[in-house]
Subunit: 438 residues, 2 copies
Amino acid sequence: MPIPPGPFTGRTLARLAQDLRERRTTSTDLTEQALGAAAALDPGLNAFVTVDGTGALEAAKAADAELAAGLDRGPLHGVPVGVKDLIEVAGLPATMGSRHFAGYVPSRDAACVARLREAGAVIVGKTTTHEFAYGPTGDRSANGASRNPHDPSRMSGGSSGGSGAAVGAGVVPLALGTDTGGSVRIPAALCGVAGFKPAYDAIPADGVFPLSRSLDHVGVLAGDPESCLIAYRALTGAGAPAPVEAARVAWLDASDLFEGDPEVVAAVRAAAGELPEVRLPDGFAEEVLRTYRAIQSCEAVAVHADRMETAPELFGEEVLERLRGAAQVPGWSYVRALESRERLAAVADGLFARHDVLALPTAAVTAPLIDEREVTPAGRPVPVGVALLSLTCPWNVLGLPALTVPAGTVAGLPVGLQLLCRPGDEPLLFATASRLPA
Amino acid sequence: MPIPPGPFTGRTLARLAQDLRERRTTSTDLTEQALGAAAALDPGLNAFVTVDGTGALEAAKAADAELAAGLDRGPLHGVPVGVKDLIEVAGLPATMGSRHFAGYVPSRDAACVARLREAGAVIVGKTTTHEFAYGPTGDRSANGASRNPHDPSRMSGGSSGGSGAAVGAGVVPLALGTDTGGSVRIPAALCGVAGFKPAYDAIPADGVFPLSRSLDHVGVLAGDPESCLIAYRALTGAGAPAPVEAARVAWLDASDLFEGDPEVVAAVRAAAGELPEVRLPDGFAEEVLRTYRAIQSCEAVAVHADRMETAPELFGEEVLERLRGAAQVPGWSYVRALESRERLAAVADGLFARHDVLALPTAAVTAPLIDEREVTPAGRPVPVGVALLSLTCPWNVLGLPALTVPAGTVAGLPVGLQLLCRPGDEPLLFATASRLPA
């Protein structure tokens, strides 16, 4: 049974901003709606680790006072927001989804949270993350699995699973996530919302617990791509995009990366409309996936090696096993992976020579069941992580901006269309999203 | 028995340039002297893998013709030069000191060789390198050990052992080397000449066979520091240094890095004159040496992994064993080493806040015997590689300019004084060298 729509389902940030300025609502009202929805819906979703009712209402009152006094901080002013529990918010527990951080309360805001506050946003609470963000399923966490609002027996996707579930259920109109191999885009796609992973380092990662430093990206989830753009601009200070010519868009046949569920691929392709088709160069898919695994493995263990040594029992079994496997990757493979990344970036540049935006599925499967570890999207069993990550992680290796937008449903479950561009072409990316036939 | 002085012993590049321009000699004459000395002395030194008499005399004639016609390419014009056999010279074999490259003849010049030619230098031949430059002793090479001109039963040092021996014996006035952990400075010091490892990437490494890409530096060896500066300027296009104030020089007590032979340390310190003393911050020495080993190991295996798999028998035993050990370093250690390098660079910056130039021994031992694998400079046995590298490799980790200058002898064997500065302060470094009391 799907979770019923929450108070923010179908409400864009642009509309909320207008309503606030035309006095049809207040930040306090919006915040109370979010808190009420969290109280009502979260038992079925587990989207939140911490809800900060007191702090949120205080921030909302301050936002209302500022707006009433004519101090306007822009489109996020007064808007309730969820923040992934991997991102530090001063005074709120940050568990990182791990028992290692039980009881940890940071004293400073992460840089992206400080920017949210400067933009007047109201932080409602911390959203569930896969343990240390090390997994795309969202169902391994010290705080329990986050659940899919379209079918709570299914995964939210991860690792920003709580953010996907909270926005997908309309509990909040916006949430922050992080994306190392798809951790913003996968839950966004599986939960039926939009998610944007900007270019590498576009949103600063200070105060965000690392998974794999050279692959980690801070991103945003919202109901629609235009709202993602608004949040992205507020977080980065990016100017209003100049009106752009229609982008040159191509469909990227990504079957070399992953042979997905044909129904999902067909649905996403239909949502993208009629497009010329391009393929990846020979060998690119294998090399980029190998490169992703080597980089992520070594960088993740560099973060966790001491905890693995001193307190292995505080890890969940699955994450500990993955880390132990990752610790076996030799250093020279990592060095080669960094060299591959440079080669691949040059090749990818060529892919964009004749097209500004490439379209492909975000994940070529719908949300698996909670705890499912093998799926058979195309007749052969594959590990669930491979099925979820293979179409998103290549763009972390390359640091490319990547946006997922809702592309309808297959068997009642949402699927996402992923759009890619080169850094600097974000206006073309969002313009493409706004002109989709769907 | 020392090798008798060669034709270039005691002749600076400045003096050669003057003699050429005042018609007291010709490039052909200088080149014939170098070729003659190589023929006479190299049987005892093994400094050269390849001597290119024909090519050198042709280049010398062209240089003479240009000079006679009034085309002056600057201070290297007409000067005979040796080039380490790890650096590609079009048309000459490049063995890399390895049987893997037996018969390999590159068709293009390395970037630094192209610059030598543009500067009018005459390439006399290729100098012996330790196998793949992977060792500081110079006595493991497919081409045999290079020998110390001051005592041919002893090591030249390495890996640019042939360059050290050729300049040390006065066969050529200048040679190119490469330095990943001390491979220019160690043979220079052990052979009684000057050697300069510039800042990272100051001389381009294109066409130089890599040992460890982020630590590899191209450098120069000559009889005296002023000649190194002349060659460095010719290779980089660096302008004439403005007259500089006396540098603030300190003696760096490097005993945390390596407890050297007290006689060597005392001799070098005496050569440096009266200086204030500084120490490394606590923990710095251990961290920088660990960082060096992790980076070098992983990057070296990244270069050689395929050869190790397909043709291990073509490696020398010692180098293969080292590579196999290096292949065991896990990727996460490499990631941590890169993080350490950033931290250490910040600390090193602090070291230079009150001093422009730091002075310490280049190696705190004199040249060991060929094949000696353990030395006891301070009462305890240590591996020869540790004894040779520990005072030079930290500055490769940090990419700092480092110059070694002759600092007299201990028991008849040369010792070197090492001077360090921050990139950009090279004029202060060379000014310090020119004002040494010795």
